[in-house]
């Protein structure tokens, strides 16, 4: 199947890219491995501050349907349940699934592959009943299925706290959110001081959302080591869930599925306090190890990458129009760094335009203005984002821009 533009990934970035490119008469197709387009957007459900002190619920399912409607109206074909498993010069994308057997041949490609959940390996983590945060979100909010009766969340970060609340909303008793076992695999994620510093960053998100008490405490102690020393063992409650930043899950236990977790107290410096180990009975453990950009196809195509911790890991080096170091290859969404869905959509819009320009579909006189408008939309999405996934995203983005500039001029 020959097309102008192949878009890999049918989440917020990929769908928006398809809509945007189609507006310039580009013959685009979206490849998506899920049976239903929308990506991780479908599992999202969170409350954020709106105007006049009110709060607004972000319901991913509704946003996904809206985007899907736009794609259908724009006539963008979506090859669902289809995996684009490679990217070869030309561009050739072999497909696995019900899509055309000969695969895709495209002039330009947008990679909107999203992010992968980082593994949080710990004793017992292969037991059925241990679910990654993404599984829990999808199960509850997309499929409306209850993960269990009594859950423990392991890993304290913006995503895991959001999911803890989703568990509560689905009628699951959440015994708390604790840190992963200390060690080289968990690093700073198991250090009370580092985690409390991160929590402090999250408090502006939630003047009314339950983080208030925690925020007062953390600001009072200025976060960090001091907060770690004073932080109550039983945790402060956020949305009714005890956030136990001085406790760690050491091992998950059970015969054929999760039955319990061994939990222990941590000293302020992150060491396990001997003799504090005890068993907590749960039937679900929700693991949160953070997200990393899903970059395999970019690597295969020979894109230069850079490692930027604040953006989630190795990302394809890209310019202000989301072009990569390989001509005809663009990126959008979490593959460019882990941020929220509205940002991914705005990036998709920009990448679709950039691809249309590369394909010669945008009149020269209109280009600058269109790009400026799309970039302004992306900037606005970033400004309006209630929270950044990782600390320091803004400075990380400037660093990335400087690296791109350096490469262009060097």
């Amino acid at each position: 199947m020959r097309v102008d533009l192949a878009i890999v990934g049918g989440g917020p970035a990929g769908l928006a890219a398809g809509v945007s490119a189609a507006a310039y008469g580009v013959n685009a197709v979206v490849v998506d491995e899920a049976p239903l387009p929308g990506g991780r957007l479908r599992g999202q459900l969170h409350e954020h501050p709106g105007l006049d002190g009110c709060t607004v619920w972000w319901r991913g399912e509704i946003e996904a349907e809206r985007l899907l409607d736009q794609a259908r109206t724009a006539g963008v074909p979506i090859l669902s349940s289809t995996v684009g498993w490679g990217l070869f010069p030309g561009w050739k994308i072999p497909l696995y699934g019900p899509g055309p057997e000969e695969g895709l041949e495209a002039e330009a490609v947008i990679l909107a592959t999203g992010a992968v959940q980082r593994s949080l390996a710990m004793p017992g983590w292969t037991l059925p009943g241990v679910l990654a945060v993404g599984a829990v979100q999808t199960m509850i909010n997309q499929y409306r299925i209850r993960p269990g009766r009594r859950a423990l969340v392991v890993g304290i970060d913006v995503l895991s706290l959001t999911v803890a609340r989703q568990l509560v909303l689905a009628g699951v008793e959440v015994v708390g959110a604790v840190l992963p076992p200390p060690g080289p695999l968990s690093g700073a994620r198991a250090q009370p001081a580092a985690v409390l510093k991160e929590l402090l960053r999250l408090t502006p998100l939630a003047p009314n959302l339950g983080l208030r008490a925690a925020g007062r405490f953390l600001r009072g102690s200025r976060g960090g080591q001091l907060a770690a020393k004073a932080y109550p063992r039983d945790g402060l409650r956020v949305w009714g869930v005890p956030i136990m930043a001085r406790r760690s899950a050491l091992a998950i236990q059970g015969t054929s599925a999760v039955e319990s977790v061994i939990i222990a107290d941590l000293a302020a410096d992150g060491r396990v306090e001997p003799g504090t180990e005890r068993t907590e009975a749960v039937d679900v453990v929700c693991l949160s190890g953070g997200l990393s950009p899903l970059n395999e196809l970019a690597l295969q195509a020979g894109c230069a990458t850079v490692y930027i911790e604040e953006l989630g890991g190795h990302i394809p080096l890209h310019g202000p129009d989301l072009s990569t170091t390989v001509p005809g290859l663009f990126v959008a969404g979490n593959i460019t760094g882990v941020e929220g869905a509205p940002i991914a959509m705005a990036q998709g819009h920009l990448a679709g335009l950039a691809a249309a320009i590369a394909l010669g579909r945008v009149p020269a006189r209109a280009r600058d203005e269109m790009v400026q408008e799309a970039r302004a939309r992306l900037d606005a999405a970033r400004t309006n984002a209630p929270i950044q996934f990782h600390q320091g995203v803004t400075t990380a983005r400037s660093r990335l821009a400087a690296l791109w500039e350096g490469r262009q001029s060097g």
């Binding site: 491995e33 899920a34 049976p35 239903l36 991780r40 459900l45 619920w57 319901r59 399912e61 349940s81 992968v116 959940q117 292969t126 037991l127 059925p128 009943g129 241990v130 679910l131 990654a132 993404g134 599984a135 829990v136 999808t138 199960m139 509850i140 909010n141 499929y143 409306r144 299925i145 209850r146 993960p147 269990g148 909303l169 689905a170 009628g171 054929s256 599925a257």
Partner: protein, 109 residues
Amino acid sequence: MLNENRRVEDHPILGPSKRGAPVTFWFNGAPITGCEGENIAMALWASGIKVMRSDLRSGEPRGMYCGIGHCFECRVTVNGVPDIRACLEPVRSGLIVSGEVSPEEGTSR
């Protein structure tokens, strides 16, 4: 456990759940009723089934982990085709699903 229903019928924010028509498929020889629009992994979970296969080397139980197609922990055999990710495979009436894994697994490592 087989009769346990974990489906949430009314959600405080999302409201009442709209579900597809019931479909019956087979898992390790037992009939399982899922809803159209669900995938195999979610339909099994909703019926109280977490163990989907056992590791060929250790015999340890394995089930859904990432739930979004990345980890392959929920791979099953569907109508004779091995290594299908249950979390991405929609339920259909009469599907024969088993926790067998491909014969090569566990031999090479």
